[in-house]
Amino acid sequence: MFDPIMEQILAIARDAWAFLAGLLIVVALLGGLYYVLQGTAGAAFGGSRMTSMAIIGAVGLVILVLFAFLFLPQIGEMLKDFQPNPPF
C-alpha cells in the first residue's frame, strides 16, 4: 500500500546519502590540505608543536572519515536486522 511512497522516499534518501558522503570527502580533503599547510608552516618556522598538532589533526580526520564510511553502514545493517514486524 505504501510501497510506491517508500520507493520515492528511499530514492531521495539514497541521493542524500551520496551527497553527504561526497560532501564529507570534500570537507575532509580541505581539512587535510589545511593540516598539511599548518604542518609545513610549523616545520618551516621551527614550530614543532604546530607540526605535531597538524599531524594529529590529519590522523584524526582520517579516522573520522573511516568511521563514517565503515562504521555507519554497519550500524545501518544492525538496525535493519532489528527492524520489527508489526506487533499487532
Binding site: 542524500a16 570537507v27 581539512g31 568511521f67 555507519l72 538496525l79 527492524q83 514486524n85 508489526p86 506487533p87
Partner: protein, 158 residues
C-alpha cells in the same frame, strides 16, 4: 472484515514508518559525522561534542523504536481484556482491543519518527515529546482495558 482492513492498513503504515525511520536515522548519522569532521577541522570543540551527543541520541532513539515499542505494545495488548462478556460485545471488545493496540503502536512509532526527523534536520531531539506521546498512548490503552469490561457490565451481557 473492516477491522482487518484497518489493521492491515496500520500494519503497512508501521512497516513504511519503520523503513523511513531507519533511512532518516542513517542520513542524520551521516550529517552528524559531516558536522563532526568540519567542526574538528575548524577547532570548534563544543560543536564536535554536540554532534557526538546527537549521534548517540539518534542511535538510542532508533533502538528504542525498534526494540522498546514492540515490547510495550505487546505487553499492553496482552493486558487488554478483548474477550470480556459474550455475544456481540465480546466480538466488539476483541475488535476494539486490536484497533487500540494497532493505533497506539503506530502513534508511538510516529512520535519517535518525528523525533528522529527533528534531530536529522539539526533541531533539538524532541525525545521528551516522543515519550509524552508514548505515555498518552499507553494511558489510552489502560483506560480502554478498564472501559471494555465496564461496557460489558453496563450493557448487561453475561
Amino acid at each position: 472484515m473492516s477491522t482487518s482492513i484497518i489493521l492491515e492498513f496500520l500494519r503497512q503504515g508501521w512497516l513504511a514508518l519503520a523503513g523511513a525511520l531507519l533511512a532518516f536515522s542513517l542520513l542524520a548519522g551521516m550529517a552528524q559525522m559531516l558536522s563532526i569532521s568540519s567542526a574538528g577541522v575548524t577547532g570548534a570543540n563544543a560543536w564536535v561534542w554536540q554532534s557526538v551527543s546527537a549521534l548517540i541520541s539518534l542511535l538510542i532513539l532508533t533502538l528504542f523504536a525498534f526494540l522498546g515499542i514492540p515490547q510495550i505494545v505487546q505487553a499492553l495488548q496482552s493486558s487488554l481484556p478483548g474477550g470480556a462478556g459474550c455475544g456481540p460485545i465480546s466480538v466488539l471488545g476483541q475488535y476494539a482491543s486490536d484497533l487500540i493496540g494497532g493505533l497506539a503502536a503506530v502513534r508511538m512509532l510516529k512520535a519517535t519518527f518525528v523525533s528522529v526527523l527533528s534531530a536529522s534536520i539539526g533541531g533539538t531531539s524532541t525525545f521528551s515529546q516522543a515519550l509524552i506521546e508514548c505515555g498518552e498512548a499507553i494511558f489510552g490503552m489502560l483506560i480502554a482495558a478498564a472501559a471494555i469490561p465496564l461496557a460489558a457490565w453496563f450493557l448487561g451481557t453475561c
